[in-house]
Amino acid sequence: MMEKLTKDIFSNLEFITSTIPSNFNFIKREIDLNNKTCFVLFISGIADKNLVEEYILKPLLNSNIKAKNQDIIDEILKKHLYSSDVSVTNSIPDIALQLISGKSIILIDNCDAAIVCNTTNNNYRQIEESTSEKSVYGIRESFTENLELNLTILQRKVKNPNLKLEKYIIGEKFKSELVLVYIDGVIDPQVLTNIKARISNLKIPAAISSGVLEQFLDMRTYNIFPLSKSTERPDKVIFDLLEGKAAIFLSETPSALILPATFFEFFQGFEDYSERTITANFSRLMRFIAIITVMVLEPIYLVLLIYNPELFPYKLMSVIISSRQNIPLPPLLEILAMDVAVEILREGGLRLPNPIGTTLAIVGGIVIGDAATKANLVSPATLFIVAITVISTFIIPNYQMALTIRFIRFPMIILGQMFGFFGLLIGFYFLLIHLTKLESFGIAYFSPIVPSRFKDLLDAFIRAPLKEALKEPKSLKPSQKSPKN
């Protein structure tokens, strides 16, 4: 296959056409430039027709070109094209890639190079407020599907000459643009090398979303914990860039992927830094209590009911016994049935339009809970435990981590049913083994606790006064050895 352009415009056209999918919207507009045949090529829709007409066709048709042969390209670039983003190429694969990215190509007879002109259609969704990551104090902007616009939002806010943007083309079946963003000098060189190496070695059929990309970046297929964070909010990205992390933007994706990520930061709300120290700490404490509740409340209740009822204090025991009278289901089935019902309602709520989804979740929850207790299928005490667990899941600020924590309670329930307290012990310790083994792009996932960086703990479980909490975390700098290492 021919790789480079020749001087024969028709054979060039034929080869370019053969590399482009035979689409009806591939436009080949022929014009005459001072008795020279010229073709303007673009894919209608991806390229903006108005821009092509305004910036390319209009000036070229009204021009009086004097130069001959190769010089003609130079003259067109310097005198006749209105577009600011132009370049010259002679590679046919590159031309094909530019065409499907929305650029226009100007082919001229007797020239073995083509002009590439940016006419990408930027008719994307307007900047809106994020619906999935609402904030009380933060800015109202969120990312859109337009990569350039996302980067513009970021650059407008980070006025730092060290802000670096590196572009990669990824995808085997179809190509996507990926932009790696970081602040040079703030990010640790070792971490940056790890991220770049991972991107360069990425073998992904198609990067259709940041979630797909995240899974391909993580080499552990069956790891349930997210090793990078996805966000729609520019202020979150900026905050993480300042801490020494990198962000990945993918074309046609309205979110950025922040990496590396550690376990504890998934439980830090962005509002924590806007609130006063004491109230922020209270919120954080509530969040950690919620996590423990989600993971162990139901399993502990189950174990106490089945194997260790003697551990209930007498008064509590009498309440639970009276609530469980005439319940035919064993405690495991009771809990699992309610949990599965809640998960189905939640999943259904996600798929429905927003107001209907919320209504379904609330009404469904009330109706099913009420019906189950009235039918003596579930005891009120069990319903209370399940309800507390479900409400606690909403307090986890990150959706990916919330999913993981919600999932963990199921194996814990099964272990509790099989081995009682010993089962809970096994489950907890197994989680610790897994978590301490994990690394996110060279950073220990359980840092700053393991390895211990005591100063970084000021923004892990607690949120110290901002002066301390906003210091660059040492745990994100593996190349700067701690004195205790």
Binding site: Y307, L311, F419, F422, L424, L425, I433, F446, I449, V450
Partner: protein, 361 residues
């Protein structure tokens, strides 16, 4: 086969030492010492703390004198090839007993407390599988886990503090009734303080050798503090007569509270302490697999599997508790004696055989 990483930080070394000592012994320690030293039992625990401190200091000095070569290499250059292998086999046997005592004790305690419906053998099998997962990735992972679980130690310490006002100071008086009995009670603490021998194996894997001696000593001191305090609080709450008659006085102590949601602290304590036991077992399992891999010259991963099977088999033989106690009483003084004699002689010889003999390969 998994990729093994053995590098640990100085902090991790400290936490490994701290973790390796705390085990099943903490539950029955007060009983043993009170039988001999009565209300002064906690002083015996404090005095016996010299053993882990001594081992940590000697291990650090041996490796300092011998240029931080690996355990077997150091032994070969000090003792010659034959004796080096003999000593490695002794260490291997030491870790078999240590791990099996811990595991069988753990199973016995669980069956005695919260998990009455399970057979101790089931507990042993499941725990061994978990131990295999912990040790199979090498010392780095054990170091990280030790670091993490150290924070649980603080919680373990907080629970007995709940009872600080519940006892009576007269239970601890007179402080020194019979000084000789205080020293006579020291052998009762041997099992509780065993596990520290791991320092003789792992120091070459610490990334920074500076202050490795103080890290070991601090790790030991933390455990000595915890042991002394728990024994002190137990005697303060129960008195020495009741303490000496109980099998697990510390469990009796934590079960003595009256709480609103759970009837007492026992399940919470078992949960926290159980995690420490897994970690102690991991340290023992690592020592066992490490020495086995040096003896039979097979890969560490494969030796992990063999070690776990050995621990499982020996632990099953040590159920029920009276069998285990009987074996500990017979074996433990010899093991401690061997470690003390070996480490002292090795330290002396390391001073004599200094210089180029120990240049790294």
């Amino acid at each position: 086969m998994f990729k093994i990483n053995n590098q640990i930080t100085r902090n991790q070394y400290m936490f490994i030492i701290q973790n390796s000592i705390i085990g099943v012994g903490i539950l029955s320690l007060a009983s043993g010492v009170c039988k001999v030293a009565k209300q002064s039992g906690w002083i015996s625990v404090l005095v016996a703390g010299i053993y882990p401190i001594y081992i940590c200091i000697v291990a650090a000095l041996i490796y300092r004198n011998t240029n931080y070569n690996e355990f077997l290499e150091t032994n070969k250059r000090i003792w010659g090839k034959f004796l080096a292998y003999i000593f490695t086999i002794f260490f291997f046997i030491n870790f078999i007993f240590f791990s099996s005592f811990v595991l069988s004790g753990f199973a016995n305690v669980l069956v005695f407390t919260t998990t009455k419906f399970l057979s101790p053998h089931t507990i042993i099998v499941i725990t061994v599988i978990l131990t295999y997962f912990t040790i199979n990735y090498g010392l780095t992972n054990i170091g990280r886990l030790s670091e993490l679980l150290f924070y649980l130690t603080i919680l373990i310490l907080i629970i007995p503090f709940y009872f600080i006002n519940k006892g009576h100071i007269t239970n601890l008086l007179p402080l020194f009734d019979d000084v000789s009995s205080i020293f006579k009670a020291v052998p009762e603490t041997f099992f509780a303080y065993s596990g520290v021998e791991i320092s003789l194996l792992i120091i070459p894997y610490v990334t920074d050798f500076k202050k490795v001696l103080s890290s070991g000593v601090i790790g030991s001191l933390i455990t000595i503090f915890i042991y002394t305090l728990t024994v002190l609080l137990t005697i303060n709450y129960c008195g020495h007569i009741l303490t000496s008659k109980l099998q697990y006085p510390l469990l009796y102590l934590v079960a003595g509270a009256d709480l609103p949601v759970l009837s007492n602290f026992e399940p919470l304590f078992i949960f926290l302490w159980g995690n420490k036991i897994f970690q102690t077992l991991a340290v023992g399992g690592y020592g066992l697999s490490y020495t086995l891999s040096k003896i039979i010259k097979k890969s560490y991963n494969r030796c992990c599997l063999y070690s776990c099977l050995i621990i499982m088999f020996v632990s099953s033989m040590l159920v029920p508790e009276h069998t285990r106690t009987m074996v500990i009483d017979k074996v433990e003084p010899y093991l401690v004696g061997f470690i003390l004699v070996y480490s002292t002689l090795t330290l002396i010889l390391s001073y004599f055989k200094g210089g180029k003999t120990f240049e790294k390969n």
